[in-house]
Symmetry: D4
């Protein structure tokens, strides 16, 4: 509960301009819209810098569409992650300018006026198979209003490919490193720059990668500093963190 | 290898002001000092924003002291983590203004002129037992030149303690959340602010906490956004990431 | 074996009103009906407060139907969990008033007279994707004769949604908290009330949630007190525990 | 934040009997006492039915003593868990009627008038080595005001020992089952009674018990119903849950 | 290499009745038939008491059929485990009296004269869902020449069902206990009898059963004695061990 | 509860030779002696073929001594496992002919008349470091009345050492294979004989042996048949299973 | 970056035969071809002894075909691993002499002149189900220019099958051992020879094999020496290591 | 069993120059010396290229000394790994020229004539804390007769330190890479060279390194080729593999 808001409310009540019962109601109903099966948090844009993002996995196509449409009433930019084609069809029937990204499994909408992109984020991925997660991060960063530099397929087994590109990524405000298998790329990149590095382990690999555990542990145990790790395959989460870092710069 | 440096070097060689053999030598011996058992990376301050930090665990007291002394020749501020009393004694014999922090197991030196602290970092911990890790983060942040706001013992079982302090921490550029057991504090804090949150799981707990695994997994799987996770008990790592975020702001 | 029952039996035998051989038979055949592949425990309602519940996973549709029909002879209310459409078809062919709940995968029958609901149980879930498990708990609680208060989609990333509803759930006799991902909701709820909290981790999440392990560990390691944890996705188990708590109140 | 309390506060502010600034202060400072390194939650007795319990592990002896003494000012009954002899010495120096239980590692204080014990809790343990955890649960239950029935060393390898005692434990309002190794006792007990069973896995065992993981998993996967599981070796947690169940009965 | 066989061979060589080269060949080609992709071990019946059993998983239907047919030339009784319908079709085309058991996924052939069954093995399973594994064990035991007593659906949640049958199973030479979930049945049975108990954990369960890990650990950590554990769902392995125990009795 | 015993009891009651109250008492007090903290199961010798064995880990030295002395009143042969020197001192003060085996951490007593050893058990261990566990098995087997053949340090890295001894072990009724590290010895031995093989994984090893997990998994997944696995380092458990197999032979 | 290459470049620059800007360009664009989604490392043949191998898993069929075709321009021999039929169709449309190996899921091309095979590698597999992985290793070894000796289905449960073939494999320069389940074959083979053994755990098995973890741990913990382990099911990786060992011999 | 040896033996027997009984004895007693608790494999030098190495962990000081002395009778060079000071004292009392290496916990003896070192092995370690394991590998390599190039403290966080040394290590026949934490060094090195790389994960790290699991998984999942992994902290194992590779070159 926001402190200054509460102070102001109390002053209004004290001044008689707001009845206690009404104040109570405000405190209760202010923050979200109740759809029954979901409570849409319209104030998240205020509180967290971006409208609530829809995590589609485990929801029905219908639920996704209802939430998407509800958000569309108040927001120009919307993101739904881990969506399939069926969910997109349901959404598109209600929000005509929604768009589906099949590689990254995102449904997005970007209906606002083109804004000036603020702050650059580099997205560096180890192999071609890591690209879906990298793209999830990239598209989310763009929708959140940032410039994105994409550097894909620069894994550590051919380290010169990465070193060659250093001048491209070392000027970004934040870097997102996407890697599966042994996840070593995060350590190498973090050793080269003086910028926050967001490491995204992917489930790319097999056998003893244990669906991304290998890369996850590697990134958490990096001998390099300045690394924050997000969940396996969580491209969106990396973008959200990068965005909050870039906005901290403003 | 720094791109512009390489370009300049090549120009000097082309201009004849630098012999190829000498250029080669420069490329080789430039970056670090070789102590035999360790190679001190004097350029890390340039590259990563802070001198190389000594990870004491697994080193002998003598090794720690030699590295500390070598760093002390070129740096005002030095940090050694996971140090014990014996290591400190060895260091203090060579670097008289080194200081030991018994709770956080740090040896530090801060011999430079008092600098203006830049940017504030809030450090929020769940329980009293998480304090050693929180202090490791706090002291490192201070040595790296930042203001620190400490909010300790505000675990989620008494959520009002945290909500009361929201106005204190919501203005920091970055927040470090330190929690063991179920690690829920990171999610709650990240839901309240629009700032990057660095989550530090601790090994506080017992039984099915499996030495911090419980808090680690919880933080990686947070339903809130804007969280980057570091290794279990890695207060220093959190500070380094926070510092790189604050400096990105400059 | 029930003590007082045994005492009475022995007295009857001593008094000659019961032959030893007959007593032996009673001890053997009293408790269940043998269907060959399954032994139906008709006395469980007496012993455990509710007829034996059919766990459908791993059974054939035919087996489910035979057991369901056998139970239907002696019980008004029946629950079969983790059932699919095919199993329901087989059951419905024999027990016409059976009903299928597709979201929660339950087959139920409630043919008795409407009873007064005794005691209220609040069921609080973190996200929309947790709803199938929450509904499994809710429907089972209702069949077991209790009032149910549903509070869905009140995850900790928007803590005000939960705090707003506190007056609704804090008066229940027991609370069931259903959450996947980091499972933090259980700790926050248990910190707010002085009532037994039953925590149900769900497999909602991905990557390092490891199919619910993350939420499970978080709930077991809660810093709040008064929490009992059941198996991942075990909505029925939570309902059974809640019911036994409510009945303990009678 | 308590709803009715907030309503009342708002009314006072509206009526002019409370200045907005004072109301704000109340909201902030009401709930706890700040010791610097710890924030004592004096309202927890109101909110959770028992004063805050001190988890000693990871705290210094001095910290334990300061918190204990602070609690002693307002509470007759105090519990500190996982305490060692040194911590007790520090506490006893300040709170003379504190008592140490060496087997269960508890420091307790029970200075109030003898109260009538309300509601019985049975504590059933599998082996002699499980006794420290069972005693932690038992002593905590007694301090929380309940009658305790102790049934120790009745593991499933000699099932008749348990069956013989069924008439003793089947009348309790709640049962706590403490078992290590394969943890089968919880399933067997829950199959015999129609009461909530709180299962406490212990770290008793070796090899593939993996410090209690074996018993923990067994209890979570019980084929019997009505079981809530707490953390490994968490006798106190079991007592707190049992107490909340018994109080729900009042 | 069999010792007495080797001794005899050496004597023949010494006596001149066997040329060294021939002896060498014998040592090489004696034991198996090479099918290229597989080497059939015809002497296993001698060495291990039963012909080589075909583990079908990971083999093509054609490979299974070729091996089955090769074995059929020298053996009356054959077992192939983890076979599907397609594999059976391929086998039946070559060995007309092969039979498929759809529940237990076995292909068997039993073309010899009916033999007197030697020694009884009790097979006790916890729930209906454990039956496929129990049947795999039962059918294999029968083919290996033993009497089988089946006691299914006698899980520990209704312990009286098991106790009632004690006189049936306590006279067997060996007992096979098949259970998933918490696997407690093995401990209870082993506590009741003075016979070797072979425990088969099954993957029946969900959530924290982790595909049978829960039952496996429980059985390995049993507080009862006289239990040997086989792999999860390994009904055949249990039968093979039971058979070797029964034959040890002869 | 033994069936024939119960039948006889009922007949006595029916015949009037036993009063119901006395019968009830018998049923209750027959089976064990209650020491308060422990219940000694004097009938286990009848039921399980050997007196209750004391698992010392987690017990105090005093508790061990009291139980040992209580057993000594009715039994010639007693085994206490995982005992330390202090426990032995406490036992020896009460039972003068108790003996301590420092390598295998056993306290034993063997005061009866020398009996004819029945049935041979081979104990085969992989390395010298596995010897303590092998000896625990060996000594227990001897006390249980069996001949023991010891074959130590015959690991698979030098397979000829094992093959040379085949004629020694292949005639035993049961074989116990004790191995740490990769635990391959169990598979190789089971491939050579047609006898039940009891596999004991040990915690010998380091790194990725994860305290015996490596050997445990290997033994459970053996491609050879006729293997039953016991817990890591559980030499006694192996002996108890071997003994039950040998007795099955009688 | 190759040292002598760098030296030569610097000399050219010093001699004026190469402009600094051109040298810079060379350093940047030398090593790979950028396809947008992938960067083909044409110098890997130089650096790692074989052209870059395409890991198909997680790539689209189109991506595989584009990369394959790009490599085909400069290389006679190409390998793509973990490919499916669809990927092969896409490749074959562009590179007509590509070939698909359905068992080992490889797409290969071998268009060069037949070369003399250099050095022999033995590939020894435990069971028929391990053959796909063994074949992946075998075919890769052949394409890399080495002779391959295949010894399949010689698992340790029938150790004589392996011992009989010892003279075949003991003369190879390197041995690849492929085994699932308990993975014991690696230890036994390494104990028989004085050659580097490359151990490939496979996911063959079930239950507690945990998809190859069992064999992996066994191979890492082998009591035999001279073993290097690769990832589960990684036949190609084993071949690459074997090839580097054979070439080291040249 | 060596093939040609067996052939020769059979010929002698055929020729009458060797009695069958004597041949049998030879086959039995040839290969090792039986010390009771250990069987020394004197032929291992023949078979595996180096005398049996003593793994001291889990052995008593006396056992180590007896085995060491027995080996000393027939071998100039001896290695005992994981030895402590007490073991060394016991060894030194019997073998006066034994030497203790306190950092790497080795007892060695090198009493033979100085030999020409054959083949070079580079040992590259990531951090100072990895040095004990690196030294274990280095000293063992030297005793096995190879030249060793040591490159310590060249972790990937400062990649230029490694690149600078490339010309030193790229000419070795085999490379050993020793790294804890995220273990990324193995991937980077293997990407730079065309030589077999032996990766040794170390237990250096904390928290989510889980005692070396992190580095182990990373190395197994490397995106670079030509890597064979040994057990965590297994410096000796790496040396043995390197030695077998170098000897394969001869």
């Amino acid at each position: 509960m926001n402190h200054s808001y509460l102070e102001q409310l109390l002053k209004q009540v004290a001044g008689g301009s707001l009845a206690p019962a009404d104040a109570l109601k405000k405190l209760k109903h202010l923050h979200y819209e109740d759809l029954g099966f979901a409570k849409i948090d319209h104030h998240r844009a205020l509180r967290n810098g971006f409208p609530e993002v829809i995590f589609c996995q485990g929801k029905t196509a219908e639920q996704v569409a209802v939430i998407f449409a509800a958000l569309a009433k108040n927001n120009h930019r919307i993101i739904a992650t881990r969506a399939n084609e069926e969910m997109y069809a349901a959404v598109a029937a209600q929000v005509s300018d929604a768009r589906y990204h099949s590689m990254s499994k995102l449904i997005t909408r970007d209906s606002g006026q083109p804004s000036n992109k603020k702050g650059s984020v580099s997205i560096i991925s180890a192999g071609t198979a890591d690209q879906p997660v990298a793209e999830e991060a990239a598209i989310c960063c763009e929708l959140m209003g940032h410039q994105v530099i994409r550097l894909y397929d620069v894994g550590v087994a051919g380290i010169h490919r990465l070193l060659d590109k250093q001048d491209q990524f070392e000027k970004s405000i934040a870097l997102i490193v996407v890697a599966g298998m042994e996840g070593a790329l995060a350590s190498v990149v973090a050793g080269l720059v003086d910028k926050p590095v967001i490491a995204v382990p992917t489930s790319v690999g097999y056998g003893a990668s244990f669906n991304g555990l290998s890369a996850l542990l590697a990134m958490l145990n990096s001998c390099a500093t300045g690394i924050g790790v997000v969940n396996i395959d969580n491209g969106f989460g990396a973008a959200a963190l990068a965005s909050s870092i870039v906005r901290a710069k403003e």
